[in-house]
């Protein structure tokens, strides 16, 4: 076990996999940094420091800096993946699926099915998502709800450095397109990470981060930490919460959720996406349908309101589900008779 930051777990996993498999290549804006400047390659890396050192180690053929052309980046990742490479493409902000969605949704996500099962497209698209930086309406969004709804994409959302390591390795070795969502407010999070160079976490296996008997809380990303804090606080009062970290939203670990609700009978889903057609509703509906008889209270979504993400500190904090709101939701489902 080594202690490392979430962002370092990203870059070290990429480096290890590039070392292991010469077909792994990286591409994106400023993934080298400094190209075409007096400072030269790697004068500076990308803004998240998630590719630092890769160019020096693996060279220009395997670490490819691109123009600001997200459709071409994702398209190129597809083309690389269809011709024997294992590209890891970076979208600097998840919000930029807006300018590249076709290549994700209608292209790479559909090849295998549409072409009759003969086509592998082993591409990873990494994206920094989420609020918490006061980056306002166009640089703070969650997109897992959009991409989870799209058949042909696997969607992964690690909440800890160890999960980054285990899930990113799985993603890189996966033969299908994987969307790898890194919460930008977690890049500086520290945690223990297994040293085993084969440490992998399979998709579709949620993690029980807190165990309790009274309420099931499902979450991931930045808000998972909020849920854990609430669970810890309530534990002191004798209220037990299962806190389930989804890790991947597609495939979804239905079993973990349903098993927990069968015991607790009460469900809260805490998610950063807006309320409509989002992940929170998706999971509430799943539970309402498949664990109906176990439910003792209405399944409850805790999400931001149906608005764009506002800029000012006070507004962004009020926008995001807070520990207070989560706690209130727990108390509400507990109080339900």
């Amino acid at each position: 076990m080594a202690k490392m930051m979430y962002r370092d777990a990203v870059v070290s996993t990429i480096a290890e996999e590039m070392e292991r498999d010469p077909n792994v290549v990286v591409l994106g804006e400023d993934v080298v940094g400094g190209m075409g400047t007096a400072g030269g390659p790697e004068a500076i890396g990308g803004i998240w420091s998630t590719s630092t050192g890769l160019f020096g180690k693996f060279g220009a053929d395997r670490v490819i800096d691109t123009p600001i052309s997200e459709s071409a980046i994702i398209g190129a990742a597809s083309g690389l993946a269809l011709t024997g490479k294992r590209p890891i493409a970076e979208l600097m902000f998840a919000d930029f699926i807006g300018v590249s969605l076709d290549q994700i949704w209608n292209q790479m996500g559909k090849f295998r099915y549409m072409f009759g099962g003969k086509t592998k497209c082993p591409a990873v698209i990494r994206m920094a998502y989420g609020a918490g930086y006061n980056a306002a309406a166009q640089h703070s969004q969650s997109v897992h709800q959009i991409l989870t709804g799209m058949p042909g994409l696997k969607v992964v959302m690690p909440s800890t450095p160890a999960d980054v390591k285990g899930l990113l390795r799985t993603a890189i070795r996966d033969d299908d397109p994987v969307i790898f969502l890194e919460h930008k407010a977690l890049y500086g999070m520290s945690g223990e990470v297994p040293d085993d160079p084969e440490f992998m976490i399979p998709f579709g296996h949620a993690r029980l981060s807190r165990a309790g008997q009274d309420v099931t809380i499902v979450s991931s990303g930045l808000l998972l930490g909020f849920c854990e804090a609430v669970a810890d606080k309530l534990a002191a009062e004798g209220i037990g919460c299962d806190v389930i970290d989804l890790r991947s939203t597609s495939p979804l670990d239905e079993e973990a959720i349903l098993d927990s609700v069968e015991v607790t009978g009460r469900l809260i889903v805490v998610d950063e996406a807006p309320p409509r057609c989002g992940l929170a509703g998706d999971i509430c509906a799943l539970v309402a349908n498949k664990a109906f008889a176990s439910l003792k209270a209405p399944p409850q979504a805790v999400t931001p309101p149906h608005t764009p993400i506002p800029f000012a500190r006070e507004l962004e904090s009020a926008y995001l589900p807070s520990t207070d709101k989560i706690e209130a939701a727990v108390r509400k489902v507990l109080a339900y008779r």
Partner: protein
């Protein structure tokens, strides 16, 4: 360069296969047996074949909604193609793709595409792959005059230049995007190649209704792009489509007599025949024999497609990697 008799026969046959495939679909579609949208490539055969005759399986192509010609020229199997368009389980894509979504990765055919302009970025990736591998292989993106107005096509051209991808952008200017003339929709009207050139690429131009023009042009282009490090290039071929945008299009946007004129003076098969028989390279009998051969193959392909196994409801759930 003089092509061998064998190469000439092969080129003619390839063009003829596409022609017959499309002419036959044009007829079969009227019967209602074939589902979906079908865009026929008829008239543009010299481009697909003049390009693909230079390629092997390790060279890649990326195609469009009007993709049958590219597929066949790149080596997709005739029966599999026909069966796919018939929506059969025995189709190249098991009936899941249909006319607009045929791919055959083993043949280096990375996919037709229903989204206009979506292929070019994919070709850039394949072209980067080729550059990395350093074996002189290339990736070719076919695009129409309409597709050349999509942002993705422009991004792809710039990115190919920046990454020195071994990539060739082949623009087939057939003068129309759906029902709109290229003189309206392309701001630079009849000069798509110059627009590509402004991205910093070498460009060529050729007559897309003349196999030899396409073939010789592509020889030069490929000679250039196969040199590792030279980066991408673009070519514009002026060509004609003989049918409507899709089957069912009444084509009222055409001038009087336009279809007759282009069938008469701009038919790549007629031109080819005139050229090779005139030069005494092949005889009419040689070509007629190929025609007969192709007609027979087509008959067999249609019969096979018609008889082929239909997909079952369970097939909907095959070849997915996550089920809910």
């Amino acid at each position: 360069m003089q092509l061998s008799r064998e190469a000439l026969m092969r080129a003619y046959r390839q063009m003829k296969v596409i022609r017959e495939f499309e002419e036959r679909l044009h007829v079969e579609i009227q019967t209602g047996e074939i589902a979906g949208f079908t865009h026929l490539y008829c008239g543009q055969e010299a481009v697909a074949v003049g390009v693909c005759e230079h390629l092997d399986n390790d060279d890649k192509i990326v195609s469009t909604h009007r993709g049958h010609g590219h597929c066949l020229a790149k080596g997709c199997e005739l029966n599999g193609m026909m069966a796919e368009i018939w929506g059969s389980r025995e189709g190249l894509c098991k009936g899941k793709g249909g006319s607009m979504h045929i791919a055959d990765i083993d043949q280096g055919m990375l996919g037709a595409n229903g989204i206009v302009g979506a292929g070019a970025p994919i070709a850039v990736g394949a072209g980067i792959s080729a550059r990395i591998d350093g074996k002189g292989k290339v990736a070719i993106a076919f695009s129409g005059d309409g597709a050349c107005n999509q942002g993705t096509t422009f991004e792809a051209m710039n990115m190919a230049v920046v990454t020195k991808a071994a990539c060739i952008f082949v623009f087939e200017n057939n003068h129309y995007s759906e029902h709109t003339g290229y003189e309206y929709a392309v701001g630079t009207s009849n000069d798509i190649a110059s627009r590509a050139e402004a991205f910093g690429m070498k460009v060529w131009r050729g007559d897309g209704t003349d196999f030899f023009s396409v073939f010789e042009t592509m020889r030069e282009v490929l000679e250039y792009v196969r040199v590792p490090g030279n980066g991408p290039a673009a070519v514009e071929f002026d060509t004609e489509r003989f049918f409507g945008h899709f089957e069912g299009d009444p084509q009222r946007y055409r001038g009087p007599g336009e279809l007759d004129r282009i069938r008469e003076t701009r038919d790549c098969l007629k031109k080819f025949r005139a050229s090779v028989t005139g030069a005494g390279l092949l005889s009419d009998a040689d070509l007629d024999a190929l025609d007969a051969d192709v007609a027979e193959a087509m008959e067999a392909a249609v019969a096979a497609a018609r008889a082929a196994e239909r997909p079952t409801p369970e097939d909907v759930l095959a070849d997915v990697y996550i089920s809910y």
